[in-house]
């Protein structure tokens, strides 16, 4: 197992390198640069092309692309992700802050989604074609089908504007620095996020459990007179969990990527909104660093998922 993990980690290095090269190339192909973003055509009466060229020179944008890439890579290898050209702060600090914010909302959302999604999946699988099964399945289809921004706006309108139970977005009340206030702001977006994921996890768990429950070893266990709870949890659930673990593994990178629409609607300063804003403003250092972090998490999530397979299913051996 240890050798397997080390080998995967070593293989990740060239993958990460290729990711940075690819992302850099894509940024190069995109029209315009961050200086063009500064030159908003509505408010640009006072700047000349000479000013813009001087700015490009100062920011190093006139250097050949390979030079700029190597300059960036050299910085990263020394732990320096550079400065955000738009936000005027070190990219490392910026990412850390946004990453922390995303982790809070995505972490809570994913925890709730996994807990309730799997539970409801098992529940509906054990009661196939019951009223509860049809009701929960219907609601799960609604959850899967509803775009995040619609769900977010509806939730804000109902629970914040009409009922006043939750703040209408933001992460804190200005000047208030308590855990209670933070949680008060996190609950609604996290719940909206969890509903979307919960529906997916519920559907996968239900499908997988229905499949496993028909297997001969489950029938055998039942015929041996094992209590129903043990049959379900020890024999069926553990095997039925494998595809669900895959889905959860795929969801982990979202902890970093964030949920751009949800963060926008809830004016929540997470990674998703940062990434989106950075792309449309061509904030090259932030785009590069964010992609690198995301790539690391994707690779880590895949590795964790593979290791989890082995932990869940003794038949799987990682070599």
């Amino acid at each position: 197992m240890t050798r397997y993990i080390i080998r995967r980690l070593l293989l990740a290095i060239p993958v990460l390198f290729m990711v940075t090269v690819l992302v850099f190339a894509l940024i190069e192909l995109a029209p315009g640069d961050v200086v063009d973003f500064f030159a908003n055509p509505e408010v640009m009466a006072g700047m000349s092309e000479a000013d813009l060229e001087a700015l490009r020179e100062r920011l190093g944008l006139n250097d050949p692309a390979p030079v700029r890439y190597l300059h960036w890579l050299g910085g990263v290898l020394q732990g320096d992700f550079g400065y955000s050209l738009i936000r005027s702060e070190p990219v490392g600090e910026l990412l850390l802050r946004r990453f922390g914010n995303s982790m809070m909302i995505m972490g809570i959302g994913l925890f709730v989604a996994v807990t309730f999604g799997i539970s409801l999946g098992i529940y509906t699988a054990l009661r196939q074609y019951s009223v509860a099964d049809f009701t929960i399945s219907f609601l799960s289809f609604v959850g899967i089908s509803m775009p995040a921004f619609i769900a977010g706006i509806l939730a804000l309108y109902i629970f914040s504007v009409q009922l006043g139970w939750f703040p209408a977005g933001g992460m804190r009340s200005p000047g208030v620095h308590t855990l209670g206030d933070l949680l008060h702001h996190l609950i609604l977006p996290a719940l909206v996020l969890s509903i979307i994921h919960m529906a997916t996890f519920m559907r996968y768990t239900r499908f997988s459990m229905l499949d496993v429950l028909k297997q001969e070893y489950v029938v055998t266990a039942t015929a041996k007179g094992m209590p129903r709870r043990i049959v379900v949890m020890r024999h069926a659930f553990r095997n039925g969990l494998i595809p669900v673990v895959t889905m959860i593994g795929y969801s982990i990178p979202e902890l970093v990527v964030g949920a751009v629409f949800l963060e926008t609607i809830f004016s929540f300063p997470g990674m998703g909104k940062l990434y989106f804003d950075s792309v449309i403003s061509r904030d090259f250092p932030v785009i590069m660093a964010a992609n690198l972090v995301i790539a690391v998490f994707v690779l880590a999530a895949n590795l964790i998922t593979d290791v989890a397979y082995a932990a869940i299913d003794p038949r799987i051996r990682l070599e």
Partner: protein
Amino acid sequence: MSPLHGNAGGTALGRKLLATTAVALTLGLAGPALAGGSLVTALDMGPGGDEDARPWSSGAGHTTHVKQFITPTIFNEDLSEIVPYAVESWASNDDHTVWTYTLRDGLLWSDGTPMTANDWAFTAEFMTAPDWGGDRPGDRNLSLSEVAGFDAKTAGEADSLDGIEVIDDRTIRFTLSAPNPRHFASLFRFYILPEHAVDFEPADFMTTDWFRDPSRFVGSGPFVVAEYAPDEYMTLAANENYFQGRPALDELVIRYFGGDQTAALLALEADDIDFTYVTETDVPSLEDDYDIFSNLSGVVVMTRFNYNLVDDAFSDIRVRQAILHAIDRDAITENILGGTYVSIPCPIPYADLWPEDVVTYGYDPDRAASLLQEAGVDPGSISMEWVGHAGYDNTAHNSALQAVQAYLSQIGINDFSYRFVDIPTFRASYSPDGDWQNQYHGFGVPRFGNDVGRLWSNGGALGTGVTGYDYDADGFAEAVAAISAAPTIDDYNAALGDFCRLHAEMLPDLQMWVGNRFGAADPSIENFWWQPAPAGGPYQDNAHTWAVQ
């Protein structure tokens, strides 16, 4: 005070406010009617905000900057005049090349240190340092590019600005490299910085925390920085030393919504905030419960054909005239844009400046068809693609452009398309060598200020290329020169009218409409004032009188 509903009301209200403030200042009675309280706003929404909270290097955000710093002069409430702010008076020599300004007596920084002309000179030298690190030099150019020695100083060829001379603590003299009868109008974004408190180098302008750090920040506006939570909010506290008196509010909070108007609107309706910028489509559902602030934005929405750059049918003025005659702009502004826009004959967005005899090219599809016939142009051969930046990618403007598409098809122009792209794409693609040469976008045109004269200047450092006004047509240079040289306000307005007439006759680009912009405020705010100024002004909003019930 009631909020503004319409342009005319705004002017009247502005005069009333100005008169009230002037009387109060004269009598030494300026001060709040109510005391205390916290006002939470979304001043960063729309054209008035910028989370960066860093004057001198900002595309917008003057609504916020002017809360923290005073400027020598400032727009009045409805943007109809430039009025004194930090200065008490000004005078120029006969040819308007030397201007002398006198600061108000008793101006203090927020830490109690007197503000002097040395602070003003320090700011000028700081902003023209060759290694100044700002990323948007527009305000610097507006404020200082006319000063003698600007080019040498910014190029590192001189140690100081030749044209700046401190006479005494309250008096400073500007020597200009060319005459300007309205130099005071170049100073409305000149945020004076405190020489004694600025502890960073010009090169570090964009990276310093000074503007956000309460322990280092020293300002002169009605409020000072009390707390900055990146991406979330900035809390400003009352400046006890503000020259018009301590603000009535204890705190002014500016919440950040990442530019998302829906999020800000929901926060307003949930009573989390007291004010935000809203769109014209939001107004009907808000006007019963909120005070709606509205005025012409001063942002002209236009499409530009740049016939100097393309060698095709549009080089014939009759084709350009036909396009305008073919589109019923009044119907579009009234029915599709909800009456919140008005069609315009020229890029001057203020109706009172339009000459009575200006050509307006009303809707006349028959005339359009005959003009094309006279020009010998087959409408089926005309290909048009309008490209707008993402700021206009909303339902209203999409519908308006679909209507344009339908109108043009009526005269046989069927190859019409439009698309919206992000700003870097827009900027990079629109050029003589770019893919697209027809734009659909807005442009801020302050009613009064040097921007107006320079906007259409072909030869100056400002405007050319960046704004895309690269055309060269007979008479424009003279018209622009007449605007710049106008010695009085009346002459200036008349010159703008002449320019408008010339523009409408020659149609170097085709003007569409200018829109109102809106803000919605909780009615419980006393004395609140907001104006949809291009980039947020700055303008006099008398924030020191704002109060909450």
